[in-house]
Amino acid sequence: MDFKPHITKAITLMVVALLFLSFKASYWEFDKKYIVKIQKSIDELFGRNSYNFEEFKNFQEAFYTIKEADVVLGYFVVAKAPSKFHQFDYYIVFDAKTEILKIEVLNYRENYGAEICNKNWLKQFVRLPTENYAKYNRMVDGISGATLSANNLKQDVFRLSKLLKSHISAKR
């Protein structure tokens, strides 16, 4: 039996895996503070610390599954939405039933509209029904002085929730 092709194949796969991993590594290097914050939230929300993250493969948004052993605890997504001139970074943590558990703004760059970072205001999104924007968007109050950012965040949260829901149900 000729082992050579298998060895070459194995090496090629390893190189490809390394390439892939090197990109994965850079993925997490965007801001160390982000990871710390997200992990802290997940620790608090799920009351555990032995979970790991698994990125959604070939997915258009940065979604991750939070897993403990083989049990899915929930999901989170890191995303960007526009304010007036800039964009802000935020994340959403979902439970295993894709209900929103927490939203936090990671970096708000605009001089106006930082009101959306208010934790109490963001609490309105917790367990918000997100299947129908038209029906439920008014359950989240607007903010005067942060009209644009508040609306953009609202829209983006509905969009991402929907995306996650359809992805999960498609997998089942």
């Binding site: 990109f23 001089n111 968007n137």
Partner: protein, 438 residues
Amino acid sequence: MKITITTLLFTVGNMNINACQNIFYETLANIKKELLLRLLIINLNKNKMKKRVLILMTVALGTSLMAQNSAEKIIAGNPGLHIGGYGQIDFNLNERDGTIHNNGKLDVHRLVTFLGYNFNEKASFVSELEFEHVSEVYVEQAFLDYKIKNNLSINAGLMLIPMGIQNLYHEPPTFNGVERTNVDKYIIPTTWREMGIGLSGRSIEHSISYQAMLVNGFNGYNDGGVFSGKSGLRSGRQKGAESYITYPDFAARVSYYGAPGLNLGFSSYLGDSESKAYDGLDLSDDAVVASADSTIIGIQMIGIDARYNKGALQLTGQYIIAELSNTDQYNGFTGKDLGSKLTGYYYEVGYNLMNGIIPSISSDSEELIAFARYENYNTHAEVEGIAINDAYNRTEMTFGLGFKVAQGAVFKADYQIKSNASSDEKKGQFNLGVGIWF
């Protein structure tokens, strides 16, 4: 590879060293990648597995590129150029005065284009170019914003004075009524902008945003007095157009948004107006210095405002008070009738009828806001050495509707009842308007 090296050589010949270095490293990285790929392919060729592995590689590279893209989506700064704008188009009709007819007015009141550019994560330029009444052109804002820290930036250029609500948030879909409130015209001379340098920051933890700046003051004397009893400080705005300065003024604003739905603002402005009488003045000549001193007005303005949003309900209120000093000498010297205290306030209740009361017509982001506002502005709240003119103590009641067909597009209609303390006469005004913001 040939092409990349030629490009490299070409660029070396044409660009400065810094840019060249970057391109060099990039090209080097590309060459490395190319070499790696070629080596792999050659190696694979030998084993006659070219096709299969190539497919494998394409898939793998594809996925890693996709991974990179979605990471980039998070990391990458914002797109550089931003274009936006807002506009206010009005129809105003004063009611018939007994048998006296008044013509209506149709006006493209203001059309403003935003142009912003993000140079990188830290530096961005913001500008607003305004066409007022179609033919007058102004620059409303033009400043460079540089982030010193994540939550603190330094701004320099032509900036909005942080006083009250509408001077900062004046896009028509953000306020009720066709016209801006007159407190924000005669007491705060919106759009009030001057050249200056400042800090703007926020503490997300404490739910506070703040701005503080050193800015140029009003032009109070320009071969004659500029301020007046009727319109207060409004005519003195220099707007950054070949403006002159004697000493800078100070402006600051803090807003607190800790309670959900509530936004509280505290603004202050301290300083003296500028005067052309000081230019080329011999400071050793006491007589001319004394007369120049009579052309200066000391200004202390403070404001408090509150906005509250809960479901369909919107509440807005604002109180502004401006204490002016030296008005006795100023009026004596210039023959003007400037008051020594200016006050203004308004409170407003708005309710989105499309939130539960009546259904939307075609889209979920529609809003039909009914509102009522009571407003008083008095440019002669107090005077020095002159008589109070009650006609400057003005009251307005406004009732209206705003139909938001989209977040940034609104049709407006309202009716205003205007009166002043000099008589019992009440005048009605009907307004229709279009407001846009994108």
